[in-house]
């Protein structure tokens, strides 16, 4: 089947406004979902679930959250990890303090709590932008981690703020195996990704992008800057909050405030830079890339060195990793700010016109 738009004439605006207007995209996404839900659970092993697939989905969700804020609404944030921390600790506390609360409610409430905190730390965006805003979100990053360490109430008085998450149960059903957790995470991420896709193709998304591209023109057109920016912070933090809750409950099982450091925020930021700012797909591509590259290098580099007969140490692997990341991030920032998603799109455009390039 060729990938092309030609010949697919839309007879109504409704058809043109579908989630994925091009048939091949639609089929591709459905196929991917079918594989993720129906095939992967039966073929993947435990290692794949707990070391690759689950973290990939969770980081995709966090990257998606940051992408809504930074890529779509144009508000740079370095506080993603802190909002994940809020989500993780909020879910823990809801489970702890409300008896028998179904886990999905805890996750949703965790997201809402993070959204509230996000709005609070989004307030500076009403007066400052760009670099200065990034510094303000940095304050959020340090303040939140400090709070979670400083006040023992948040971690139910455990030492140094470490929390061990409760069982993941929903209406009496316990999600214990990595496969079950994978399916739970996959479901949540799918639903939230679809919601994000809907948001960005509606007037909410257009308002965000308008504010990003030209805020004076946006307000002249009738967009109220304050609610629009704060909504972006709220929704973004909601996504990061849910990601944080999943990170604690379905991936690590036990977390401490320092685990949500600035490092983690930067990781999420790199994901959207490499994956593509202002692209839902890019959030997933970026997460996959950043998570998989180290694994790939771990395997490939020693093998390559062996084949070439060069001496090799583990330190070299990590050095090469850092070098490669740095180079790639600079490449994408300078050459292709729309990241892998844009490269993918260019490839599709080429394919669409093939064999008659113009």
């Amino acid at each position: 089947m060729f990938y092309r738009e030609a010949g697919q004439f839309k007879s109504s605006y409704a058809a043109d406004q579908q989630l994925f207007p091009i048939r091949q995209d639609r089929i591709g996404v459905l196929l991917l979902l079918a594989i993720a839900f129906l095939v992967v659970p039966f073929v993947a092993g435990e290692y794949w679930f707990s070391a690759i697939l689950i973290p990939f989905l969770i980081f995709s969700l966090a990257a998606l959250g940051l992408n809504l804020l930074t890529g779509y609404a144009g508000q740079l944030s370095l506080g993603s990890a802190a909002f994940m921390a809020v989500g993780a600790y909020a879910a823990y506390n809801f489970e702890l303090r409300v008896d028998g609360l179904p886990i999905l409610f805890s996750f949703a409430l965790a997201g809402l709590t993070a959204a509230g905190v996000g709005i609070l730390f989004g307030l500076p965006s009403l007066w400052i932008k760009g670099f200065y805003l990034a510094v303000a979100t940095l304050a959020a990053q340090f303040f939140i981690v400090w709070c979670l360490t400083k006040f023992p109430w948040f971690s139910n008085h455990s030492s140094s703020g470490v929390i061990s998450t409760q069982k993941v149960t929903l209406f009496g059903y316990a999600f214990t195996s990595p496969r079950e957790k994978y399916l739970l995470v996959l479901t949540i991420v799918t639903v939230l990704a679809l919601a994000a896709k809907n948001l960005v193709r509606s007037s909410t998304g257009r308002a965000w992008m308008a504010v990003r591209d030209m805020d004076v023109a946006a307000s002249v057109i009738g967009i109220r800057l304050m609610p629009t920016k704060l909504l972006a912070f709220a929704v973004s933090s909601f996504y990061c909050g849910v990601a944080g809750a999943l990170y604690a409950f379905c991936y690590l099982g036990s977390v401490e405030p320092d685990g949500f450091s600035l490092d983690l925020s930067f990781r999420v930021l790199f994901m959207i830079i490499i994956g593509g700012m202002g692209s839902i797909l890019g959030s997933f591509l970026g997460a996959a890339f950043i998570l998989l590259l180290p694994i790939f290098l771990d395997i490939a580099l020693p093998w390559l060195a062996g084949a070439l007969g060069l001496p090799f140490s583990n330190a070299t692997v990590s050095h090469i990793q850092i070098l490669l990341f740095g180079t790639l991030i600079m490449f994408f920032l300078i050459v292709e700010p729309h990241g892998l998603a844009r490269l993918w799109q260019i490839a599709k455009e080429k394919l669409r016109l093939w064999p008659f390039p113009h």
């Binding site: 002249v220 009738g222 109220r224 929704v235």
Partner: protein, 260 residues
């Protein structure tokens, strides 16, 4: 022309605007009548753009009264002007660069959209219906401006002349009752100018939209406007129908003295 010019809908009285020590506007009064094309002309730096910015709330004058549709206006924000039916284009194109032509125009309808973000997230009944309804309206504007072929093109890839047209489209998509145009024909070639003139006249004629127009091309101004106000160094030096203004000695002096 078949149109009938109505009552005064915008009355500016003794407007003064300063930026620090710079007096952009000094004690300016003029009015705009319903359905008319009102031009603002003047040499570079005369304060024309500032005047538009005062009208739609981007700048707040230190002195003066603005009466819009019979009501004295308090200090207000641009988005409030938009909800009152005032739309505009900018001297330096201010499109949303990362978005397609279609999305830029759809954004123009934002004040008319009622659904909220949680409905958007679910994309259920009402949100979807609303999107369709507004899409239809936007397609009318697209047809009117003859830009069907670039609907899905990101605006940053368009040539200058088309970008100007798209920006007009975004303003028209709002179905404004008053349209402020800041040099809509600057930098265009003759054909593009003619097209733009035609669009402006059609909008004014068919939809009855009141238009306040800043333009440097005197031929165009004298041709299409009903009344002209002339600014120089932030002061008003002439006001009246094109014939009057053309023969106003002060205006002639300002233009001969100006370097362009």
């Amino acid at each position: 022309m078949s149109k009938t010019i109505g009552d005064v809908i915008l009355d500016l009285q003794n407007i003064s605007l300063r930026f620090g020590g710079v007096k952009a506007l000094t004690d300016i009064s003029f009015d705009v009548r319903e359905h008319e094309i009102r031009a603002i002309i003047g040499p570079n730096g005369a304060g024309k753009s500032s005047m538009l910015n005062v009208i739609n709330g981007v700048y707040h004058p230190q002195e003066g009264i603005i009466i819009f549709r019979g009501r004295e206006r308090k200090k207000m924000e641009p988005h409030q002007a938009a909800t009152q039916g005032i739309a505009r284009t900018f001297q330096n194109i201010a499109l949303f660069k990362g978005m397609t032509v279609l999305d830029n125009l759809m954004t123009g309808r934002i004040t008319r959209m009622k659904t909220r973000f949680f409905e958007h997230a679910l994309w259920w009944g009402r949100a979807q219906r609303e999107e369709l309804e507004h899409r239809k309206k936007v397609e009318e504007v697209i047809d009117f401006l003859e830009i069907q072929h670039i609907r899905k093109t990101p605006v940053s890839r368009l040539p200058y002349g088309l970008q100007k047209r798209v920006e007009l489209g975004r303003a028209l998509a709002a179905e404004p009752s008053m349209l402020l145009l800041d040099e809509p024909m600057a930098g265009m070639n003759v054909e593009e100018k003619q097209d733009m003139c035609r669009f402006i006249l059609d909008v004014n004629d068919q939809l009855g939209t009141t238009i306040v127009l800043i333009e440097h091309d005197m031929g165009v101004v004298m041709d299409i406007s009903d009344r002209v106000v002339v600014l120089d160094y932030g002061k008003k030096i002439g006001d009246g129908v094109p014939e009057e203004v053309k023969n106003n000695p002060e205006v002639i002096k300002a233009y001969l003295g100006a370097s362009h």
